[in-house]
């Protein structure tokens, strides 16, 4: 449909944007091999030294493990709570449903520092000690809406007649849920969970205010940046994380991104477009 010139132009644009997105990432990996601990250009010499340091650093290990734990708890809670709201709002239209979806968007729509200091004031006010639990609470709060959005978008795209058919065939309420609704929204749940995990794992702004003396990986990175004596170790750690996450990201893209979405879009008849 588009003229050739436009197509060529768009391809060039895509390449430029990809370069823009990835040059800093390439630099991160490049500087992880920097022998000097103060970053400057050009890099004086290369070595594996910092990877060695990173692997043997107990602070990195405990920060990494804490980040994983927090992200897992937050994701599980977000999936449970977010999908519950999504199912409820999808099936039941009542007066406050718009207010509820507005409320849910707030943690993502309000700047992270607001959520952070609000929770911090709340915890000190109610005497809850800062620790892993408070970090999880902070992360779950904004992860809920990520799962909610994914699931409700998916539910809105499915035809309601499938659930009705299931009831017609004799399934009880929860059977319909288990055998029809859940599988239909499974990909949305998984992609929402993966996105929530990613957001929680890399979260620093809210975590600064809700963490106690322990460090998640981003907090450790911030401390290392303050210190200024082990910056290439930070790059080494980040490079390893990027490497580890390529697989789940590919998975997420296949499940919820291009593939599943285009398949379902083609199944949508003209009349429902734009709804």
């Amino acid at each position: 449909m588009e003229p050739k010139a436009l197509r060529v132009g768009l391809r060039i644009w895509v390449v430029l944007v990809l370069a823009f997105l990835f040059i800093p990432i390439i630099l991160i990996v490049l500087y992880s091999f920097n022998r000097s601990n103060i970053e400057s250009w050009p890099i004086p010499s290369f070595s594996w030294h910092w990877y060695n340091v990173a692997f043997h650093d107990p602070q990195v290990r405990s920060a990494f493990l804490l980040s994983i734990r927090v992200a897992l708890y937050a994701t599980v809670l977000a999936v449970l709570l977010g999908s519950a709201v999504a199912f409820a709002l999808y099936k039941y239209k009542f007066f406050g449903s718009e207010a509820i979806s507005f409320l849910l968007v707030l943690p993502l729509a309000l700047p992270g520092i607001i959520t952070g200091i609000a929770l911090n004031s709340f915890f000190s006010f109610t005497g809850i000690q800062l620790g892993t639990i408070t970090i999880v609470i902070g992360h779950t709060t904004f992860c809920i809406v990520v799962v909610f959005n994914n699931v409700i978008a998916r539910l809105r795209r499915t035809s309601g007649s499938l659930a009705e058919a299931s009831s017609d065939l004799g399934a009880r309420g929860w059977q319909t849920l288990r055998f029809v609704t859940l599988p239909l929204s499974a990909t949305a749940l998984v992609s929402g969970a993966l996105l929530a995990f990613a957001l929680s794992f890399d979260e620093v702004i809210v975590t600064v205010f809700t963490a106690g003396a322990q460090n998640t990986l981003p907090l450790w990175i911030f401390g290392a940046i303050r210190l200024g004596q082990q910056l290439p170790e930070v790059n080494a750690v980040v490079s390893i994380v990027i490497l580890l996450t390529i697989i789940p990201v590919v998975l997420a893209a296949r499940l919820a991104g291009a593939g599943a979405v285009t398949r379902s879009a083609r199944g949508v008849p003209v009349g429902e477009a734009g709804s």
Binding site: R7, L21, L27, L199, A273
Partner: protein, 307 residues
């Protein structure tokens, strides 16, 4: 629909008698099901999140002991008057909003062609590849990415070195608001591309074909069909770029210079350094009001379905 629908063949109904009754009760009272589903998440939000926002708002009206910096519950509008009567703080608010708007416009402009290509021209395999390419930077540490830009922008850094190689003079971008602007645009770009892509991808090809059948050329189709339909996605993405910029303090701290005073910095330095929590809370009310207004506007443009 009555409870008799559950008497399936094989006598299964007898075996799970209690479950059947519970299920039937829930079926007849949809509000009970809705309550079960809604109570935990709503309880979370109201008792934790909303309550903490309320606590923050209340704190904004209090003061601190100047010596020990403990909070004293003396009610006053003092913090708000300080903010609105000080030209420095007013300038900071304007600068932050201006930066957020600029970042939003630029990101939307950069994202749209990219999302268009992804949605309408790329083959399914390319599409998946591009999707991975957008998601991957989100997994690289936010702090490490900012630091990369620092290394790029510094004196005799990579940018200056490259410009030197092509024969152009050096531009010292580090510690300027241009650097802060560039880093913001970089950081939030994926958050803009994804909703715009989702919105564009939802438009069925038949609508484009219809427009062309009716004589619309490419640009006209884009302007009058695509853009309006993609607008909810753009607005949804803008919610992220706007709010993320409005509250960010780390990027100006690391990459900004002496004029990089933004609302996030003021809030952070008052909480984490000066320990003037009431003043920080008062300052924090401003982004909340701005974003609330933005969200109401966005909702009317249909962005909530597109997030």
């Amino acid at each position: 629909m009555t409870a008799t629908a559950v008497s399936a063949p094989g006598g299964q109904a007898r075996r799970d008698g209690m479950w059947t009754r519970v299920s039937a009760v829930l079926w007849r009272r949809p509000w009970a099901r809705a309550t079960i589903l809604l109570t935990p998440p709503l309880a979370w939000f109201v008792l934790i999140y909303l309550a903490s926002l309320v606590v923050l708002l209340i704190t904004a009206f209090w003061q601190i002991n100047p010596f020990t910096t403990n909070i004293e519950r003396i009610w006053s509008f003092g913090n708000f008057t300080t903010i609105f009567t000080s030209s420095a703080y007013r300038g900071i608010i304007l600068r932050t909003v201006g930066m957020a708007a600029a970042v939003t416009v630029v990101d939307a402009t950069v994202a749209f062609p990219f999302a268009y290509f992804m949605a309408r021209i790329a083959s399914p395999r390319t599409r998946t590849g591009l999707f991975v390419a957008i998601l991957l930077p989100l997994w690289a540490s936010y702090l490490a990415k900012i630091y990369s830009w620092l290394v790029m922008f510094t004196h005799d850094g990579i940018l200056d070195w490259s410009l030197g190689k092509i024969g152009l003079s050096q531009i010292h971008l580090i510690y300027t608001n241009w650097a802060v602007f560039a880093v913001f645009c970089y950081l939030w770009l994926p958050f803009m591309i994804i909703p715009v892509y989702a919105a564009l991808e939802r438009i069925p090809p038949s609508q484009i074909e219809a427009s062309q059948d009716l004589g619309g050329r490419t640009w006209r189709t884009m302007r009058e069909i695509l853009l309006p339909l993609a607008l909810p996605g753009i607005v949804a993405g803008s919610i992220f770029t706007f709010s993320l910029t409005l509250g960010d303090y780390i990027t100006p701290l690391l990459v900004g210079g002496t004029s990089a005073q933004f609302m996030g910095n003021v809030i952070y330095s008052n909480i984490g350094i000066a320990n003037n929590v009431p003043f920080a809370a008062a300052m924090a009310c401003i982004p909340v009001i701005i974003m609330a207004a933005y969200l109401l506007g966005a909702r009317s443009l249909g962005a909530f379905e597109a997030i």
